[in-house]
Symmetry: D2
């Protein structure tokens, strides 16, 4: 069995620690293998990497092993965590790279010591190579699960590979940690998934991924409120109910919420959540608002309240209210596992650059210039199913 | 311009009076032509009957003209109704047929006087023929919008055309009003739409429709709560979120609500609302409940509250609550108009029997033996779109 | 320190097992002493019985000790229960009395074996006397926490002590288990609390309690939905907002819910929940509905959804929706503790018969003939506070 | 019958136009006299001013008469407004005073032309005197219903009457319009009600009101969300349910909402809404948040969504969600009428300065130094009832 390494940026965060704990429990038969698309028939159809072949590592700014992190996050029940304590304690995140310009609040002290962008990249690269050697891995995938960075704009340094590499040389501060990890992936030939709304797929790195032959997918995992939004908006469209306004508010009390208390990080996230509606409906919704509030009693159990105003026959108006009491990391973790396995399949099939068939998993799915983002959950699913059939045909032909 | 007659069973009810008032307003340019699928590009693609070609009539147990009915129902604003008062006053429903066995509460005195099933059918038939002659109509469609009948079971009298016609002869009381109107449609060669959950598509009449060359569609218009249910259930399926329970409650205070206060009529309706979930999800939802309560302060503004329990990764549980403040007849009216036009297109194209492509509009869509009902809103929409393309090709070829 | 025994009818149910586990944890310093009125200043003011002086016993139809019961009910977290496992295992409920006429579903086999009402009472009486002797108790209180009985009507056998005792002699089946336990309390001189909506305070037993010198209080603990209802209704009254309708629905999946799935038991409970509104508002609310549904995914976490329609200035209408995600037994348990201590204070002060000052804790508070039930939460609280002051003065005088 | 003039600051706004239209309709018997405390027995008990004795005037920045204003606000139905069109057209607001420092968005051009604070006050004073003379009024009350001003701090100019009057002389820009209208009331001997959260009761003017013998009451009318909050918080207190967090969000689309879109005005309002909880509960709620969002589809039908986290027995946590679909001005208008009549009674009884018994009507009730604000709705009501009894005794004695 060939072995697949997974390196998380933010390995000690809520989502990564839930993924690692969850898979470790499943490997030992202590948790059911449910909630993942790649644990249905799809697994065999696509020859997905077995859970047993997966090995986890990654970077984090907090100085904790994964057991400590999972206990602190209070997502996986403690009695379950205890059953895999040694396995989780053994995973200790490597120091991460950080930039005060992009992160509102300093999250920890487990930081790479380096004097330049290049030196940082050297160290990150060595982490992955050592990880691969130690664990005898055949291939590695990098997944960004770090806290949302502050809002960033594409500027000249982001436009071409040459400009970007010159920027690296000059320690240009417009190069964010998220971009460095994607650059690293390109350089190491590792597929890259951006599960956060932080800007990393700049034109320079989109081109580099393409030329390096690595598949990339992003951005911002579609978990709770946006998941329902992109299922309901198509229904309104089918029924010719016009959306006059959509007011979405979120309360959450985990570390993600704390980071989003910073107005600039909040802006990054909200922009990502706002983008989906108009594309699905085909017109600009006049009052689409998204608010995210840090409210500690809620912890990781992110809660959304949506009010939707629609008008129908004779212009008569109606209202829909939705209250989603979800668990943020529980919704996110299986998507991360699915993404890792599917981008690995894509890589093995020789696909490179943006993987549009993975749009299903994202709030603001990557799309190539000239293509439209697809946000309708069911059109996204159709994209994935088409791709699955194409790959399945190819695999059958290869046999 | 060829002229299309529409005969409503329950012409003076909430939905029918809203349809008639709405179209009359649109014809005069006093209301926008929105909320209908057949007022998008589809209208031209399919050469749908123009609104101006449509003429309305029908039966009702209440002794009111359509203006009086619409005023009583308080759905279309009074100031709008006043603008089409003469047109609405001119439409006076014919006496309807009634059966104490199938209707919980007697709704009015405008009842056909006859001594037998056959005599009733004679009178109903004459109503339609006179309507056609007086209004110089080219064709007629019959739409059942009457109050929900009590729960009925298919028995021997319903199984073959011969048995049914023998039953008519013997005034068999298991033959309901809903069945009589469908039989009438078959005999008159008029397409028939059953927008109610009352049983009419019994084997005998399904066969008769087929042999008579009339298209039929039903049953029970999909308006509010079930509309959202059949959009969200597919989303849970795509995301591998298991539905552990779905508790749906409805409050409404219109005449429909009053009728559903009768336990046997309630049973008919609830059965229709319960049927959708398991087919979409592929497993039996352990706690799927639907309750309908007559609550007068709500009037026609039917309100639904749904609680959904799902479990995801690691079996962790989450909840979704939906509160839909809808307007029942405002949601129903455009569906009726779409159905009339689409079944008319089907009829003109020579289609006969069950029109499965119209599943999109129903809670419990008709399907032929051996076929599965399709409840997923988006799969229903795909069925319709395929049919539209097929018809469009045929129409282009004909030109 | 004098010792107080508490005998629960339904000792192995959700509420009783939560009370016993909770107090046992508090005694050992393993849980905070919060959530009880009698753990505020009131405790000292009234010289309430210390938690350490309280000893628990009682009857139950299930053949389980309190540890097994608490584990099955899943209310107190397992890791807490483990800390008091020996103490809880040591409490094993005595066989209870049962009547097929009054209980929809047979709940267990731990049933008193006897040939007559009188013999049953003998056995129950012996249970209490043995309990008192074994534990060296100074006094005992009986609290009914059993499942809701089917709807009962007051008839001749319930009207006088003589008729009731004649009925006992003749094994009259209109004498319910709930009545037997109250009769037992009278005979033993033990205060009695009816925390259920089952009928026990019939005229015969109200008189007997009075003449026996025991204080009694009931009925039906006011926990979730009705608690909020009796806080909001006074607010509408203060603001002159007229309540046009109040639709209350409840979903719960514990044993209580299962019992209430029986229409006759449901009727008993709903009647109790319906009684509060008109008295507070001073007029009859036209559409006050209460529905209770057994919905397994919810377990003990009873959930209420209320819709309230009010009209204000110029008759304009507004709506309020309330969704209470509560924990039934967690809300009930502290009320039971407060009631035990307060009725014990009343007993020690020589009060007898109906204790109206305890209305605060009940949905349908006992009141003497000629007195009005008080349902307004704040008026109920004022009644309690007045009584506290009166008792406090008496206690100070006694010192 | 002696005649009472009422001068509104913001006479053409939503609340004032609703009050004027409502009373005009009631005077003519075209609307029921409901929704007001002073239309219950209280009216006679206190000899409140009859509705027929009330005459309306006031200032507004918009150049519209009250009919035009009421039509634009879409609160009172148009068909009702038509019935009092001449009466409403006859009321044309006088130009108001304005300050760019205190108002985020300029609302209109109907502005007093003056070169100094003193000159402005001259003109305002003349407005009232002319109003009194023209309408043969016996007394006048000034009610501030203007848009929320930006957040203001008490500084030296606000501390003493001398400093304030010196500030007026120097056109000190820290003197807001709200303060000018209260100063005017003092000077004219007219009672003053501040129904807005704008700062006006500064120490200087509190003293001046006292010495001028005028009663004052404020601030910020308690209409929807805060009304329910101050009814529910006492219930949690009675039940010993600890409030761990209270998240309140509001959406509204009227002019009030637009003004509150300005962050500084929003701050003024939110501060007022935040102040109530801790006083009622007796401890600081750790996560009490209030958000107000301008959302146009909602219009005047302000909607609140609250999530409350409480913990009870054993520290177990529960949640309550409240969705209030209210009508802002419909809730406010009767409070304004009640306040006018009650402060008029107070004035006639010789009361001066802060009228604490009117706390019931306010979010942030005025209180004298050394006194505590009372926010509990039922304690506020008790304050009012006590005062009513005192006044009633005095009136009876006078007869």
């Amino acid at each position: 069995m060939s072995r697949l390494g997974v390196c998380f940026v933010g390995a000690g965060g809520a989502v990564a620690s839930t993924v690692i704990a969850g898979i470790t429990l499943m490997k030992k038969g202590l948790a059911p293998r449910i909630g993942m698309v790649t644990e249905t028939d799809l697994r065999q159809t696509l020859s997905c990497a077995p859970l047993d072949s997966m090995v986890f590592g990654g970077w984090d700014l907090r100085d904790e092993n994964i057991y400590e992190a999972a206990i602190r996050e209070r997502i996986v029940p403690e009695n379950l965590l205890k059953k895999v304590e040694p396995e989780l304690r053994a995973i200790k995140p490597w120091p991460g790279v950080v930039s005060p310009r992009f992160l509102g609040s300093r999250e920890g002290t487990n930081v790479v010591t380096a004097n330049s962008h290049r030196e940082e990249l050297e160290i990150l690269s060595r982490n992955v190579k050592d990880f691969k050697a130690t664990n005898k891995l055949d291939r590695v995938i990098i997944v960004n699960l770090a806290s949302t960075e502050r809002h960033a704009q594409v500027s000249d340094v982001h436009r071409t590979v040459a400009a970007f590499e010159a920027g690296l040389q000059k320690n240009d501060e417009r190069i964010s940690p998220a971009m460095k990890y994607l650059y690293l992936a390109c350089k190491l030939g590792a597929p890259h998934v951006n599960f956060t709304p932080s800007l990393s797929k700049i034109p320079a790195l989109e081109a580099l991924a393409e030329s390096s032959g690595i598949p990339i997918a992003g951005e911002d995992g579609k978990t709770g409120q946006t998941l329902l939004k992109t299922a309901l908006a198509p229904a309104f469209q089918v029924r010719q109910l016009r959306v006059d306004g959509w007011f979405s508010t979120n309360i959450l009390g985990n570390n993600d919420g704390k980071v989003l208390d910073d107005p600039e990080s909040n802006k990054t996230k909200v922009a990502s959540k706002l983008s989906v509606l108009d594309e699905i409906l085909g017109y600009e919704v006049p009052d689409h608002q998204v608010h995210i509030n840090y409210y500690r009693p809620r912890g990781d159990e992110k809660e959304a309240w949506d009010n939707i105003d629609v008008s129908g026959f004779l212009g008569e108006r109606m209202q829909i209210k939705i209250n989603f009491l979800c668990k943020d990391s529980i919704l996110a973790a299986p998507l991360v596992i699915d993404l890792v396995r599917l981008i690995d399949v894509a890589h093995r099939c020789g696909e490179r650059g943006i993987q549009r068939q993975l749009s299903l998993f994202f709030k603001a799915p990557y799309h190539r210039e000239g293509e439209r983002a697809v946000n309708d959950l069911f059109k996204q699913n159709a994209l994935l199913q088409e791709w699955v059939e194409k790959v399945a045909r190819r695999l059958r032909a290869a046999v």
